[in-house]
Amino acid sequence: MLIEYQSQRVSLWYFRLALVLFILQVILGLWLSINYAFTLPQELVNVFPFSTAREIHTNVLVAWMLLGFMGGTYYILPPECGRELYSPKIAYAQLVIFVAAAVTAVVGFLFGWTRGKPLLEIPFPLNSLIVVAALLFIANVAMTIIESKEKSALQWMLLGGVTFLAVMYLFGMPFYKNLNTDYYYWWWVIHLWVEGAWEVVTASIVAYIIMRVTGVDRKVVEKWLYVETGLFLFTGIVGTGHHYYWIGAPDYWIWWGGIFSALEPLPIVLMVVDTWMHVRERKNPIVNPLTWYYIVGLAIYHLVGAGLWGFMHTLPPINYYTHGSQVTVSHGHLAFFGAYALLNLTIFYFAMPRLKGINKYHDRLGKWGFWITTIGMFILGLVFGIAGILQTYLERFLDIGYSTAHLTMMFWFRVAFGVGLVFLAGVVITVYHLFTIKPSTLPVPEPVVAPAANI
């Protein structure tokens, strides 16, 4: 048995559901690319428009991300606190409420039950259920930490991150009469999630996994964690301003937003450096190379997709032309996949074999999955990028009209559909591998630092 506490088991259902939703999300994504690439009959568009498919694509994304974070938190919390979870029953109840709300929401979307607010389309009654689930989750996490004898910076960082995440969600719930105020607070949810709360959760979970796998000293890891999250929040909070250039807000946002958002790659660079250093200075041998592929892949992809793409796209003179174009789509895909899909997969590859009592797993299939998805998504990002630059140039720069720009882009979306199929294959392989993970027959290297010594 590789898990130290029985209550860590609750995380398994979070992971399984997240993986199923991941596949659903990618299938919907393929459907969206068909909408771009071909002319669809009016009758089909009437019953299943692009807008409905898109709201499912994005909401399922958010749902599986959150399931991964919550499951990951439940997995690492007991060993980190040196005790069982406060209540596994609450953890299951919360999962049932969350999933019931999410499934009802998706079915509702198909019948036009929506708030019509991008990414936050879930209607108010279901939103209340989500809030209940979030409150149960935070209470469970907080009680586990409060009642533990061992206190660590990592525990508090994790609790802070998930609380921050939940509080921000509230700002998206009211109806705002003024469109510009509506979008002002919309970014409190979207931006302060992905460039704030989610980064804090990511940094904490990655710090934990690195500490456990490498045997590097806790003090060193926690120091990095403080500096990284400090910089994430310093640049990320005011960096929200890069969304306020064109919504009708005072001029100073151009400067504050532009400068702080240009600094946003810094903490990610630190994360890459820190991961790299810990791999080099590891005390324990590498047991599962594939888990390491994911940890290092996450750091590098995070830097490219979120950091580099985001940096270029949010410089105000560039953003004037690229804002709200396929360039945004390119950035969105590379950043979400690079930072958060890979984070979740890192968690799954760290936790799922252990939950099945497997120390060293057979990873041939998983490696195929890793390379197909990471390379596939990178090419997809480039294809969207080409489409976006074409669109920006034709529609915004040369000013020859939306139709011309989108007609020209159709070819690139046929390419995107093809690449998407390959990506889907990679995702299916990865999910299949995780569901059927088996022990490796190769010899397992002995750890130098026992995990327990590091708590």
């Binding site: 428009p49 991008p118 919504i247 807000a249 709200g324 915004r396 720069f397």
Partner: protein, 238 residues
Amino acid sequence: MTGKTARLIFWLGTLSSAAIFLWQTYDFHKQTPKFTHTDKLTEQVVAGKKVWHKYNCNDCHTILGFGGYYAPDMTKAFYRLGENNIASIVQHPEVMYKNSFRKMPQLGVTETETKQLVSFLHWVGDIENRHWPPQDEKFVEAYRLRESQPQKLDKVHLVLQACGGCHTFENQGRNVGGDLTAIANRITYDRQTLINYMINPQSVRPGVAMPPQDVSPQTAGTIADFILSLKSTKEVSK
């Protein structure tokens, strides 16, 4: 670096950024009435915003650059299309985009809802957002120019504003109803029939997709003269 310094960096970074951001938020609320003309944010506009949400417009269209990236941005749609065109598109997308490579769903938006939506888009179009999106600024300027000095307008401008929502002329405008030069060479109507056609298309050609146009007979006359002048000389000499 000691653990204490690391903690200090965390708290300094987080709190300073949060403080700046909260002050900016306060200032944002103070200045929003000026940037978005909240005095013109009537009940009708709010009702229009609810229509915008009800039909999930924002998951295909962007507005202020946010939303789905599938359909055109709606920030300055009022100035780009005008009230008539918005109404025609929203109520009869299957007709307006019959020949288009991209379709818009028939959503069953009522006439009242359409009016509310137009008020909403008119109000959004007036948000002072640093002239974004770049491609629509010419429509805003043209609209303001027409309002301030109608007598100085050049005919091409006038015709494109009135007809450019559906017809093209020298590669400008939207190609839904055909190119004006091609139409001029095809039709056999005289000036008065053409004027009647514009004001009530069904009276001249029953079953035609073109919606009635809200133009005065004088303006329609100017447009008719313009269109008839596009007939190539060869045709005329026949």
